[in-house]
């Protein structure tokens, strides 16, 4: 009989390696448009050349994504994002880490920059 699903019997403890993770957990993507598709990459990068408004798609509770954004312009995130720490400094690269705590309804963000 063909194996149609993975069960605990065929998946050993500690057996899921980094290589087995999907691209959404292991890749970085440069944002050319303004939509951050949570299902496509782990890290999203962008250098702003004008004020920009990002949208989020395919957000599910528990997802954690990293935005690396630079550019001395106003960056607008969805209203569902609550900033819990840090401020954006457009003169350097900013790591904006997004944690989805309630799907598309609520995400928390922390903003940080390289220590100098």
């Amino acid at each position: 009989m063909a194996l149609t699903k993975v069960t605990s019997a065929v998946l050993n403890d500690d057996a899921v390696s980094y290589d087995k993770l999907g691209a959404e957990f292991t890749t970085a993507a440069a944002l050319s448009a303004s939509d951050v598709d949570f299902s496509t990459a782990q890290v999203f990068t962008k250098t702003l050349t004008a004020n920009d408004t990002l949208t989020f798609s395919n957000v599910s509770t528990g997802m954690v994504k990293d935005l690396v954004i630079a550019g001395e312009f106003t960056l607008t995130l969805p209203a569902s994002v609550k900033v819990i720490s840090g401020t954006y400094d457009g003169t350097v690269s900013n790591l904006i880490q997004i944690v989805a705590t309630n799907g598309a309804t609520e995400q928390w963000a922390s903003i940080s920059q390289e220590a100098v």
Binding site: E72, T74, L75, P78, A79, T87, Y88, A109
Partner: protein, 154 residues
């Protein structure tokens, strides 16, 4: 100081906020406040003896937030205000005179003469106090009494 009208109220900030969330999103690094609804707060000049400032309002013509200037309404009558002002005046001069009262205590106790400059200084204080009292009594409006500046001693 800047302010924004948001969700039915006017919120004031000392500077553009680092993070601002409205119905359009969570905005970071706002540089052009006006495009998000942030405008300067202008405090009008007013006479705080006779006027006060009302609640902050939006002035669409000038594109600023400001405060209406409201003339004070006094609960005391003109005569009551004069009496209160004169009481404050006399208390102030009394405190100034009390600084040299000890000369007269010493005169009584030890028969040591009061220096002439102290006598002159106290005489001048009494004269000045009388002058102020006369001036206050000559005032004809509550605003004038409110604005009347009493001397301030160091």
């Amino acid at each position: 100081m800047i302010a924004i009208q948001h969700e039915g109220t006017i919120k004031k900030f000392t500077a553009l906020p680092k993070v601002w969330t409205d119905e359009n999103g969570t905005h970071l690094n706002i540089t052009d406040g006006a495009s998000f609804g942030f405008y300067p707060v202008v405090t009008p000049t007013y006479n705080n003896a006779t006027q006060s400032l009302g609640d902050i309002v939006w002035d669409a013509d000038a594109s600023v937030f400001t405060y209406p200037v409201i003339d004070k309404v006094w609960t005391q009558t003109l005569e009551e205000m004069k009496a209160a002002k004169i009481a404050t005046l006399k208390d102030s001069y009394n405190r100034e005179l009390s600084k040299t009262d000890w000369y007269y205590i010493r005169l009584t106790a030890l028969s040591t003469a009061v220096p002439q400059d102290i006598i002159d200084e106290r005489a001048q204080l009494n004269t000045d106090c009388d002058t102020h009292e006369t001036a206050i009594n000559a005032l004809t409006t509550q605003a004038e009494v409110a604005e009347y500046q009493l001397p301030s001693f160091i």
